[in-house]
Amino acid sequence: MTQPLLQVSRLSRHFPLGQGMVRALDDVSLTLMPEQILGVVGESGSGKSTLARIVMGLDRPTSGSVRIAGRDIFALSPRHLRQARRDFQMVFQDPYGSLDPRHRVGRIIAEPLHLDTTAPKGRDRRDLVGRLLRDVGLDAADQDRFPHEFSGGQRQRIAIARALITKPRLLVADEATSALDLTVQKQILRLILDLRDEHGIGVLFITHNLGVVDQICDSVAVMKDGRIVESGPMRQVMDHPAEPYTRRLLEAEPRLDVIGRKVRPKPS
């Protein structure tokens, strides 16, 4: 049997608040197989970003474990965790805040290599960055430009190229398309699907938008108040939601069949 790429087991994260505590994550378990895309859907405060931070090893759980390619990342020594980090990379929501405006694109993309003493240098590094830029639909020569010269969608491509440079097996995308125009969102989703196919990466895709899940995910987990309320194959959850909360989310999506104020009488 194939080993899961990501196995989150009984993960909880509690934050103290006054006399009590907030259960930001409450007994969350999920499994992502290699080369699959798992959507985690939830609204503000559902715990989805806390989950992303813990999977990335940026925060520690109160209890539970995260295994990436079989390794429990919180059982690793700091040195081994640093080495393991090349296996999992993250793309953030804000394409303006996540790229250092003072650095050229080439340096930004190569940044994750600075821990890796065996990484290519000089000419070879330039070639590698150029190849990645082409992989994400930009030009190799773009590495000499600055972030402000690029649109939001192009910046998100740069952020994805940076994530790919360590040849990760897992990509965590936290609302990676939410700040983009819909036409640009669609292009970035296409790119993520292509990268999954070409580089064989698995993706944990965190979003508040069910419309996005529908376009790229193989499976989906719906989160509310720190818990997973429903999960399963994407089509099953989207077409036959079992939980009232999932149905409510689906019903709140924009529709085009009730146009204008058709539902209510209009003042003449």
């Binding site: 503000s44 819909l182 036409t183 969102q185 204008g260 209009k266």
Partner: protein, 262 residues
């Protein structure tokens, strides 16, 4: 009430709007759809008389017979708030973080309408009810950070409504919100149009948002008016390839609802 004729705005050599024509009547909602760089926010600023000094505008923005482009700043100040209200995308940055929400809503009432603090507070309670903030009596003395994103946006709407404007401009009012909250906010805006007869200009990059409440829709692309007409016609029989591109960019689930329509 609002009638824009051949509006052109340029920043130096760069055109931001190339000849926009539109009109909007009381009790109607006009959806303005466009992506980043389409000029939709420049249009909102122009109508508010808030274009930066570096912008050059020609044409006419008629509001109740007067031209906003040539109006002196003093008259514009009276217009803003009193006659034209604005709702912004980011309710956290649009609100003053150090001021209780009740005081922020009351500010315009006290400054513009000369209400006493006591009368203003009563009016604020009514406004909080209107934008459906639950337990308004407890919320009135909250600070913005104590509210959820959706509640903050409701406060933003209450501020815009405080002086009973005739025209509301909402620039991406739901973009930062969860879908369930987005639906609630759009319903509130829609009710205000229907019940108070306000004219609403709803600006969004998302046709799904526009479709929900806009009577008419105008499509902007790089400063150029691509098409405009009744929302239903624009969605069902788009007259331009760019409108079709926008429709194609909608999630398939949303697009499918157009086909299911009666």
């Amino acid at each position: 009430m609002l009638s824009i004729r051949n509006l052109r705005v340029t920043f130096g050599e760069r055109p931001a709007l190339n000849g926009i024509d539109l009109s909007l009547a009381r009790g109607r909602t006009l959806g303005v759809v466009g992506e980043s760089g389409s000029g939709k926010s420049v249009m909102a600023l122009a109508v508010m008389g808030l274009l930066p000094r570096t912008a050059r505008a020609t044409g006419r923005i008629g509001f109740d017979g007067r031209d906003i482009l040539t109006m002196p700043e003093r008259d514009l100040c009276a217009l803003r708030g009193n006659r034209i209200g604005m709702i912004f995308q980011e309710p956290m940055t649009a609100l003053n973080p150090a001021m209780r929400i009740g005081a922020q809503i009351a500010e315009g009432l006290i400054l513009h309408q000369g209400l006493s603090r006591r009368d203003a507070r009563a009016k604020v309670m009514h406004l909080l009810d209107m934008v459906r903030i639950p337990r308004a009596a407890e919320r009135i003395d909250s600070f913005p950070h104590e509210l959820s994103g959706g509640q903050r946006q409701r406060v933003g709407i209450a501020i815009a409504l405080a002086l009973t404007p005739d025209l509301l401009i909402a620039d991406e009012p739901t973009t930062a919100l969860d879908v369930t909250v987005q639906a609630q906010i759009l319903d509130i805006l829609d009710d205000l149009v229907a019940e108070l007869g306000i004219a609403l200009m709803l600006i969004s990059h998302d046709l799904g948002v526009i479709a929900r409440i806009a009577d008419d829709t105008l499509v902007l692309y790089r400063g150029t008016l691509i098409e405009q007409g009744p929302t239903e016609r624009v969605l069902r029989r788009p007259g331009h390839d760019y409108t079709r591109t926008l429709l194609d960019a909608l999630p398939p689930r949303v697009r499918a609802t157009l086909r299911d329509a009666p």
